[in-house]
């Protein structure tokens, strides 16, 4: 019997190696390392269907520092992560997106044009490669925290490119708008979008120059989970010109829970918190805002935290709530606008965050403005 | 010398303590030797030292002119078999498979026809054929003991080492086991050494006796060395030695 078994193992091994060889030759070999300079390139001649003229291409550097050669202009793309889809829509290229992930499509109001049955996977780390292959887009756009390497290698034989755009990365806003504008050939509308928000960013910077910074405690949708350096949302707090009380002496902690006593010790002048309605998938938000009661309850809960009534923020009723859905607009510059105005109302007379949100919703997303995503404690008490 | 087991100057340590030292004896093949002594005196250690399961500190052990300690483990395994005290079986295994393990020192990988025949014969000889495909863990302690004896015999040994073979058995099984070993010694020239603490069982079936006391060989020889004086000195118990039906009986004086 042992001879049979050993023969079987040899056979299995041979078969596997044979298949690997087949797989290897049929695919355009993608190099294993995905370090900065390398890119996945399919030699155009063996993959593209027969066409008279060679399609033109464009080479761009993405959010992960990868240099990618894309067909120009991109006509079909699939996108993971809703911030990315929002950016693309703001730049005026959403018609080129043929499918998204479940985290995006779950919002049936905001993303009604996408079918939740026809998604490319649950999220940027759980991609359905077979589906993507079936849809045959020219490029997959996903953020840096997705399975970038894996996607690149798996989709290489299908000639589908992988491009990284991290819609939540406030500090990369310029690059993102440029890339979207260039790849989809919508440079004009992308520029317009960029300018609108860049103006706001510059206005805030100008007005706050030389001014003493106020201390702010930022909390995400998870209680006691703060936004510190290394967190993707930290860029947002930087642009808003506040002093994040956890930007120092917190070298190693990125998104984890902080000690409530530390918050008290660091004496925040303001508290800004994110909330999201219960029916949203973990880590996402919905177009329909949560009930006003949820805002009221959140403020009450914060005030009730033991010892927190000693902080300037609670004493002066400077507590502000915004939703997961709304703050993320334009790489979270919408969030920056609100934070800046809440914290420095007198220094930013020309900044009306509600108008910013309206513009974002109506002009750039093509949606009716909807209220109820931003509240200050004072407004809630009224 | 052929036909003799010569143990010379065997010493064993456990850490810094000496368990026994300078144990020497000569045993003709076909003998059934009982290793006697109180608990903790080192009977089992002596047994395992002969079997090379512990490496002895010093000494030699020569069987039929072959130096057992100088051999490789598989070579030794073809001359010497060991019957353990405990018969715990953690994983399910059939009796026949367990017995076939005794051919491990001989087979390359798969038991050959000759191996299987040997195993089947031994099972039949010990009256265990009906149990051949039963699971070890479903047998009684006594039956398992018999199975392991079968395994030892399948090794075709010339020397059989038994570690407290009767401790966990009922009266009938005790007698049966000792009788089987004695017959094997008589009929097939097997030499057996058993570490045992039941003096009367030893006296009933063994023809040679070695008493270990305080790390030394206190006595070695035939049944005559089992004197009440020696037993009193070694075991701390006053006894009388009687004869009944031509056999010696050790009777404790209570």
């Amino acid at each position: 019997m042992n001879k049979t078994i050993q023969r079987f193992f040899c056979l299995a091994l041979a078969l596997t190696l044979l298949l690997s060889a087949c797989g290897g030759t049929a695919s355009s070999a993608a190099p294993a390392s995905a370090a900065a300079p390398a890119s996945s390139e399919a030699p155009v001649s063996s993959e593209a269907p027969a066409e008279p003229a060679k399609p033109s291409t464009i080479t761009l550097t993405d959010n992960a520092g990868r240099t990618v050669e894309l067909p120009y202009p991109v006509e079909t793309a699939v996108v993971a992560n809703r911030y990315n889809s929002e950016l693309i829509r703001a730049c005026g290229a959403i018609d080129k997106v043929i499918s998204v992930d479940t985290n995006t499509a779950q919002d049936r109001v905001y993303w009604g044009m996408f079918d939740p049955e026809n998604v490319i996977g649950k999220s940027q780390t759980a991609l359905d490669y077979e589906k993507i292959a079936e849809l045959a887009p020219q490029v997959l756009i996903l953020p840096a925290n997705g399975s970038v390497d894996e996607a690149e290698k798996t989709l290489a034989p299908f000639g589908i490119k992988v491009f990284v755009i991290s819609g939540y990365d406030t500090l990369d806003f310029k690059n993102q708008c440029e890339n979207i504008g260039k790849m989809f050939n919508v440079e004009e509308s992308a520029q317009k979008f960029y300018n609108y928000f860049n103006d706001i960013e510059e206005y805030i910077a100008k007005q706050l120059e030389g001014q003493p910074k106020r201390r702010v405690y930022l909390e995400s949708t998870t209680d006691y989970s703060t936004i510190a350096p290394g967190n993707a949302m930290y860029g947002m707090s930087e642009v808003s010109g506040i002093y994040n009380i956890f930007s120092e002496n917190i070298e190693t902690v990125k998104t984890s829970e902080v000690d409530p006593e530390e918050v008290i010790a660091r004496e925040p002048d303001c508290i800004v918190k994110l909330i999201t309605p219960a029916q949203a998938l973990s880590g996402t938000g919905l177009y329909e805002p949560p009930e006003k009661q949820q805002f009221i309850d959140t403020v009450a809960e914060i005030k009730a935290r033991p010892g927190w009534d000693a902080t300037p923020a609670v004493k002066n009723d400077e507590i502000y709530i915004m939703t997961q859905f709304s703050h993320g607009g334009a790489s979270k510059l919408v969030g920056s606008a609100y934070i800046a105005k809440w914290v420095y109302p007198d220094l930013l007379p020309d900044l009306d965050p509600h108008e910013v949100f309206r513009a974002w919703m109506e002009d750039f997303q093509g949606f009716q403005n909807i209220e109820g995503h931003f509240y200050s404690a004072a407004e809630l008490a009224a | 010398m052929i036909g003799v087991l010569q143990v010379k100057n065997l010493c064993q340590r456990y850490g810094k303590t000496t368990v026994f030292s300078e144990v020497s004896f000569e045993l003709p093949t076909g003998s059934f030797l009982a290793l006697l002594g109180p608990n903790g005196t080192g009977k089992t250690t002596l047994l395992k030292s002969i079997g090379m399961m512990f490496f002895p500190e010093k000494g030699t052990c020569v069987l039929d002119d072959e130096d057992l300690f100088a051999m490789t483990a598989p070579q030794r395994a073809r001359r010497m078999a060991y019957l353990p005290q405990s018969t715990h079986a953690p994983f399910p295994m059939q009796v026949i498979e367990a017995v076939l393990l005794g051919r491990f020192p001989y087979t390359a990988f798969v038991p050959k026809q000759a191996d299987r025949e040997k195993a089947a014969q031994v099972l039949e000889r010990l009256g265990l054929s009906a149990l051949a495909f039963r699971d070890l863990s479903h047998l009684s302690g006594g039956e398992r003991q018999q199975v392991f004896l079968a395994r030892a015999l399948v090794q075709n040994p010339r020397l059989l080492l038994l570690d407290e073979p009767t401790s966990n058995l009922d009266l009938k099984n005790q007698l049966q086991t000792m009788q089987t070993v004695r017959s094997l010694c008589a009929e097939e020239g097997l030499t057996a050494i058993a570490a045992i603490h039941d003096l009367n069982l030893a006296a009933m079936f063994c023809d040679h006796f070695l008493i270990l006391h305080q790390g030394r060989l206190s006595a070695f020889g035939g049944e005559e060395v089992l004197t009440p004086e020696l037993i009193h000195e070694v075991y701390g118990v006053a006894v009388e030695k009687l004869r009944y039906g031509g056999r010696p009986f050790i009777l404790p004086c209570i």
Binding site: M1, I5, F8, G23, K131 | F109, A132
Partner: protein, 353 residues
């Protein structure tokens, strides 16, 4: 069923059982192959059996493939092959580990090897520690290294106390908790975008495996399993009684433990490094095999491989089909699938002889 007295009777029965065992193993193999072909044809894109053949022929001839064929060649076949390799490799490793420790609760998962590999991968992903940081090759290498580090640690500690099975198990369990906690600690402190990758890795899935990974895995797993098979008689010895008995029969328990332990770790690392942590297979595969075919390792090892491969293959396919387009990680499905089978067999054991 119980034979009457007679050596000849025993021999006949033995031969017939051996034949049945062989039949079961080969039958299992055949079933695995059949299912492999069937499952390769299943998916979002409609394909059939013949498509698979056409794909292979076309690929061998170096022809241009259409999307459906590419899906078969680059997405489904590697995935199915990896599932079979992972199931077989983890199961055989588990069987060997259970044998040398005489402990039915042991598996590559419970004694730390899987979590050590996860730790290594997390180090590479999050901190860029080790060789070729940030690349997949680097992650795999780190996973291998830490898996061996774990095994070495367990061995060295046990060696001081005589390398007994109990010490191996206890040390393994302790080390398991250590690596598991260490991995969690890293994730606790990780940058957000690295965190997602690290967490996803710890989940265990065959999604996105490709041929280069499958080849490495195949070579290592096949070699380890073949070598482990040669230790089958020694494993029988070690698992059936104390070390003394093994020594008296001519085996060197320590050497066997080191060799088979190393091979098991190698096979496990070769799988976990690519797929992430998958539990249950290494524990249940051998047990199911043992309950069906008995404990003789010459049969147990190959049959464990077969059982493991079947479990992994079926679980993976269910995972990707049942809630399409959402894909459930195989680690989750395999427990749901395997536990009822396992429990059922346990219950039926009570009635049997």
């Amino acid at each position: 069923m119980s034979p009457k007295d007679g050596a000849a009777e025993i021999l006949r029965e033995y031969d017939s059982r051996r034949a049945k065992g062989l039949f079961l193993i080969l039958g299992g193999l055949a079933l695995t192959l059949v299912l492999a072909v069937w499952f390769t044809a299943l998916g979002a894109i409609d394909t059939g059996w013949s498509d698979i053949l056409h794909t292979l022929r076309a690929a061998a001839a170096g022809q241009e493939l259409d999307t459906g064929q590419k899906v078969i060649l680059h997405l489904r076949l590697p995935r199915v092959t990896m599932a079979i390799l992972a199931g077989a490799g983890l199961s055989v490793s588990g069987a060997a580990m259970q044998g040398i420790t005489r402990n039915p609760l042991v598996s590559p998962f419970t004694i730390g090897v899987s979590n050590a590999a996860a730790f290594g991968a997390t180090l590479s992903i999050v901190f860029g520690v080790g060789l070729f940081p940030g690349t997949q090759a680097g992650t795999v290498l780190m996973a291998f290294l830490t898996a061996f580090l774990c095994a070495a640690l367990v061995y060295l500690v046990s060696l001081r106390v005589g390398l007994s099975p109990q010490t191996l198990v206890l040390t393994g369990i302790a080390v398991n908790y250590l690596f598991s906690a260490a991995t969690s600690l890293i994730q606790y402190f990780a940058d957000e975008h690295r965190l997602a990758a690290a967490v996803a890795w710890a989940f265990g899935s065959f999604n996105g495996v490709e041929w280069s990974e499958v080849s490495v895995s195949a070579v290592v797993v096949a070699a380890s399993c073949a070598l482990l098979y040669r230790y089958a008689p020694a494993l029988d010895l070690l698992s059936s009684g104390d070390d003394e008995v093994a020594r008296s029969l001519g085996a060197d328990p320590n050497r066997v433990r080191v060799a088979t332990g190393a091979l098991s770790v190698l096979a496990t690392a070769a799988i976990i490094s690519f797929t992430g942590v998958i539990g249950f297979l290494g524990l249940a595969g051998p047990h199911i095999a043992r309950m069906l075919l008995g404990g003789s390792h010459r049969r147990l090892l190959p049959f464990s491989a077969v059982v493991g491969a079947l479990l992994a293959l079926i679980a993976d396919t269910i995972g990707r089909m049942i809630l399409a387009p959402v894909m459930l990680p195989v680690g989750i499905v395999v427990s749901f699938l395997g536990v009822p089978i396992f429990v059922n067999l346990i219950l039926s054991q009570r009635k049997g002889a």
